[in-house]
């Protein structure tokens, strides 16, 4: 069994290595015809830019995406500079340089990868999936009888911030930086999922399609790991199934199929303010332009945030969203599960959490306020601040850096819920409802706690569960996502997530049960 698992790990690593090496394979040759199409579709009026591209790139063969990207970006910057000095505003290209470069590279790619998409899919995704399953499935036997299987977590360099943990951290951070800021460098990765994207939406894959597909793949493989690890625990199994289902169907399949029917891409479960650009003018315009269905989405989005979310939190706690439905939660609860114990439990971290997460909530609401004011008044700025700049800052700092680079990249260092705990504005909103008006709590079972610390250690949100349990106090915390792992790892049956009456929900006895004082 051990041999089989090692073989699986080997195959997975080969798949991963091939996937990474794709960045450096293939070549790019932009034909004049292709370039003309881009000029038309992007409505480019800069003769300086087109001239430069035509002389430097068109009909030339490039073997590296970095090289061709550099020329495109330099040409773009130089021509923009000239147009700006000449005040030829209509000739300036406002696209993000690397996104623009991505669009050119996407059509310009030629060679081995583009010609063998399926083969390369099998060599990367295929080997990766096969290898990781070979690594995971023998756990049914190697982990022993069903039960809590945390043996050796703190001896493993990958799960104890050892060398492997730091390696994974660097890998993930680089991945997210490429994905968000340098999509043109990873254009080769998108080719191998083109066939899937074309079948679903009819379009070739963007980097976001690639990310969505990768996300679903990782969640599926790691959900299988969850099923095996927590096979003694029905709550975990149902929760994993739910969060997986919402990712695959709601976040991935439905939006892509909507695009096929020429409807706006929309994830029906992604609630504002997590979905921070829902009220951006381009989104509102696109919704309004797509008729009845667009209006339905508009109404649904508002109802989801204002009514469905809080009402559901009232009945079930924020867990219904954060650990049963949400995509960020879905990745955290599958890929992130091996890192859940790395969250910081100190009081200091709790203080930081409250400032940050509520700060982001306020930021997102202010930004949306600006956005809506601009939308309805038509003015570009509010109180002298440009709405566009606020949106850009939010998108960069919160949407990309916090949610992506830090949120997932830091799994192996700060645990799997960094974003959900410190950054997610929706979590902050749900948390306020959960703290002040909800039937949800974690009940402490009388005086049975032995202060062992498993609950606190395995709390991904960094809640010091033991601090409550050892006092015989029930636990009501705004950050709790109700993953149920504290209850699962408790060796004495002390904790139970439940929805009950609001009275005495924050029950705190003077002494834990047992003493007749």
């Amino acid at each position: 069994m051990k041999k089989l698992q090692q073989l699986g790990l080997g195959i997975f690593l080969i798949g991963l290595a091939l996937f990474c090496s794709l960045m450096f394979l293939g070549s790019y040759n932009l034909s004049n015809n292709q370039f003309q199409k881009i000029i038309e579709s992007k409505r480019i009026k800069s003769e300086i830019f087109t001239g430069k591209i035509k002389s430097k790139i068109v009909d030339k063969e490039f073997s590296s995406s970095f090289e061709i990207s550099e020329i495109i970006i330099n040409s773009l910057k130089e021509s923009n500079k000239i147009h700006k000095t000449n005040r030829e505003w209509n000739k300036v290209i406002y696209d993000k340089p690397h996104s623009f470069s991505y669009e050119i590279l996407k059509v310009a790619g030629t060679g081995i990868i583009k010609e063998n998409k399926v083969l390369f899919w099998l060599l990367t995704f295929g080997l990766g999936i096969f290898g990781s399953l070979l690594f995971i499935i023998p756990n049914i036997i190697t982990l022993g009888p069903p039960g809590i299987k945390n043996n050796g977590i703190y001896f493993n360099s990958a799960t104890n911030r050892g060398f492997l943990g730091w390696f994974v951290f660097i890998f993930l951070v680089v991945f997210y930086v490429l994905l968000y800021f340098y999509p043109d460098y990873i254009v080769n990765w998108t080719y191998i999922v083109d066939p899937i994207s074309e079948n679903l939406s009819g379009n070739p894959a963007s980097q976001w399609f690639l990310y969505g597909f990768l996300y679903c793949t990782v969640m599926t493989v790691m959900a299988i790991r969850m099923y095996i690890k927590y096979r003694n625990n029905k709550y975990q199994i149902l929760r994993t199934t739910s969060v997986w289902f919402f990712q695959i169907v709601f976040a991935f399949l439905i939006p892509e199929i909507l695009v096929r029917f020429e409807k706006p891409w929309y994830d029906f479960k992604n609630a504002f303010p997590l979905d921070y650009d829902f009220f951006f003018s381009w989104n509102l315009n696109s919704l309004i332009d797509s008729g009845g269905f667009g209006l339905f989405i508009l109404v649904w989005g508002i109802v989801l945030t204002l009514i469905i979310v809080p009402v559901m939190v009232y009945f079930f706690g924020k867990r219904w969203y954060c650990s049963w439905v949400c995509g960020c939660g879905g990745l955290a609860e599958t890929l992130g599960d091996p890192f859940r114990h790395l969250s910081n439990k100190s009081i200091g971290a709790w203080k930081l959490e409250r400032w940050l997460v509520h700060g982001v909530l306020v930021f997102s609401l202010l930004m949306t306020g600006f956005t809506l004011y601009s939308y309805f008044s038509g003015s570009q700025s509010v109180l002298g601040i440009k709405t566009q700049s606020i949106q850009n800052i939010y998108g960069f700092l919160i949407g990309s850096i916090f949610a992506g680079v830090i949120g997932t990249g830091f799994y192996p260092i700060f645990g799997n819920r960094v974003w959900c705990r410190f950054g997610c504005p929706l979590a902050a909103y749900l948390g306020l409802v959960q703290r002040f008006k909800s039937r949800f709590r974690i009940t402490t079972n009388g005086g049975q706690c032995i202060s062992c610390g498993n609950c606190s250690t395995y709390c991904e949100m960094g809640i010091d569960v033991r601090a409550y349990a050892q006092k015989g106090q029930d636990i009501v915390r705004s950050s709790c996502v109700g993953c149920g792992v504290c209850s699962a790892v408790c060796p004495r049956g002390v904790l139970k997530l439940e929805n009950g009456p609001l009275e005495n929900r924050t029950y705190a006895p003077e002494f834990p049960l047992g003493n007749s004082l």
């Binding site: 022993g144 009888p145 069903p146 039960g147 809590i148 945390n150 043996n151 050796g152 977590i153 703190y154 001896f155 493993n156 003694n232 625990n233 029905k234 709550y235 149902l238 100190s346 009081i347 009940t443 079972n445 009388g446 005086g447 049975q448 032995i450 202060s451 062992c452 610390g453 498993n454 606190s456 250690t457 033991r466 601090a467 050892q470 149920g484 209850s487 699962a488 790892v489 060796p491 004495r492 049956g493 139970k496 997530l497 439940e498 009950g500 009456p501 009275e503 005495n504 029950y507 006895p509 003077e510 002494f511 834990p512 049960l513 047992g514 003493n515 007749s516 004082l517």
Partner: protein, 449 residues
């Protein structure tokens, strides 16, 4: 000059609970002395450190600034003598400290029964932080281990070593695991479970001799069955006894433990004893004079803190409860279920046909009063059973309200229907399960506050 502090010897659950609850009510100076570790840790969590579930710091229930903030002074030293007439103690570094009140919370030490070879290298118990450190330092050189003693620490040590890939032989003197506490059907479930984890469980087997190699390191164990078992480690887990050696030389009265009255006072004024080391001169009916469990340590600490802050309070631990985990099987008990029921005690037993879920309900066969329950693989609500025991409810009332009692996580399979079917057959009753009621559940909880 500062007023002499309340000195607490021992920073386990009993000593620390005392200190915390004194601080809630009073500003008196408090000094906690323990050589074992600077900060309070959960002794029951030591096993998880060895198994890699936790790191050492996770076993500490309070962050290090807690002690300073609450002005609880910690001193990592050994106390060598107590002069209760002059209210002074001596430390191993010869310094002498005065106290206002003295709380002895010295805990337990593992039993040794004079087995030949019990002091060889690689032979130890598992009780203290130092025991854990010793085990960790030996661990790499252990392939095979023998555990002697069939109690809770024994099975934990077996699980620990097994988790690190050691081949474990488990010698149990009794004919079945922990059968002096568990009724025989339950004890049998645990026997099976131990075996299913690949532990070589040898029941009805005694240790005869521990044999060392030329370096004094254990290499063999000989049993009374004449078997020789190769091993590099022997865990002696035949129970614990009060840690009172250095107290015997003082004028504080001891027997097996430090003798205390119902106010937890020793024979010396201003000196108290709590937790594992205390021996009740007049234990409450149905209770043992020494109860070395976490919960009683905590409760004695809570009680004594009242006395030391001016409200003289009797120790009255209320209805018995306990819990444990045997590999993957959780065990809880509320009230008293005898291993060998006598007099009027009778048992109702239910076990799942395949899985390791079981309960035993003890009741009085004359009055049908509910006496206690053991559960395996099923969690129950403490408050409800505490209420049932205090109200002296009948076994029929318990059966009817099983759904209120259950504390398993949501969506878990429930076995109440199966249990009640068997119950009705045995008792020739037609009890129907009542639906879970929040008001009943919360009323029992609130009555405790």
């Amino acid at each position: 000059m500062n007023a002499p502090p309340i000195i607490i010897i021992g920073n386990g659950i009993a000593g620390i609970t005392t200190a915390r609850h004194i601080r809630k009510k009073s500003n008196k100076p408090i000094l906690i002395i323990s050589k074992e570790s600077k900060y309070f840790f959960s002794r029951t969590a030591l096993m998880y450190v060895y198994m890699g579930h936790l790191k050492w710091e996770h076993t500490q229930p309070y962050e290090s600034h807690f002690w300073k903030k609450n002005k609880l002074n910690l001193l990592q030293e050994t106390v060598t003598n107590i002069d209760s007439e002059n209210k002074k103690i001596t430390l191993s570094n010869e310094s002498i400290l005065s106290y206002d009140s003295l709380v002895l919370a010295t805990g337990s030490i593992p039993n040794k029964f004079g087995w030949p070879g019990e002091n060889h290298k690689g032979v130890q118990g598992l009780y203290s932080k130092q025991d854990l450190e010793n085990l960790e330092s030996l661990s790499a050189s252990i392939q095979e281990a023998v555990i002697v003693g069939g109690g809770l620490i024994g099975i934990e040590l077996a699980e620990m070593l097994h988790s690190r890939g050691k081949k474990v032989t488990f010698l149990v003197r009794e004919k079945s695991f922990w059968n002096n506490v568990l009724p025989k059907q339950e004890s049998k479930i645990i026997n099976q479970h131990i075996l299913s984890h690949g532990i070589d469980l040898r029941l009805d087997t005694n240790l005869e001799e521990i044999i060392a190699d030329e370096n004094g390191r254990v290499k063999l164990v000989r049993t009374d069955k004449g078997d020789l078992i190769s091993c590099q480690f022997v865990g002696l887990t035949a129970g614990v006894k009060p840690n009172v050696e250095f107290i015997k030389q003082t004028n504080i009265a001891t027997n097996r433990g430090i003798l205390v009255n119902k106010y937890l006072e020793t024979n010396q004024p201003g000196v108290y004893a709590i937790g594992d080391c205390a021996e009740q001169k007049e234990p409450q009916p149905g209770r043992r004079s020494i109860e070395a469990v976490w919960y009683t340590g905590r409760m004695m600490g809570e009680t004594l803190a009242q006395t030391l802050t001016g409200t003289k309070t009797e120790y009255n631990p209320g209805n018995w409860f306990n819990s444990a985990k045997f590999f993957d099987i959780e065990y809880q008990t509320y009230g008293l279920v005898s291993a060998h029921p006598e007099d009027n005690e009778k048992h109702f037993h239910w076990k799942h046909s395949v899985k390791d879920h079981a309960i035993t309900i003890a009741y009085n066969k004359e009055t049908y009063e509910f006496l206690g329950i053991n559960t395996f693989g099923i969690r129950m609500r403490h408050e409800i059973f505490d209420q049932i025991l205090s109200d002296k409810r009948t076994v029929f009332q318990v059966a009817e309200h099983l759904k209120d009692c259950n504390f398993d996580p949501e969506f878990f399979n429930s076995y109440e229907e199966e249990i009640i079917t068997k119950f009705n057959l045995e008792f020739k009753t037609k009890i129907k399960l009542k639906r879970k009621s929040w008001s009943r559940i919360f009323n029992s909880k609130l009555m405790k506050s």
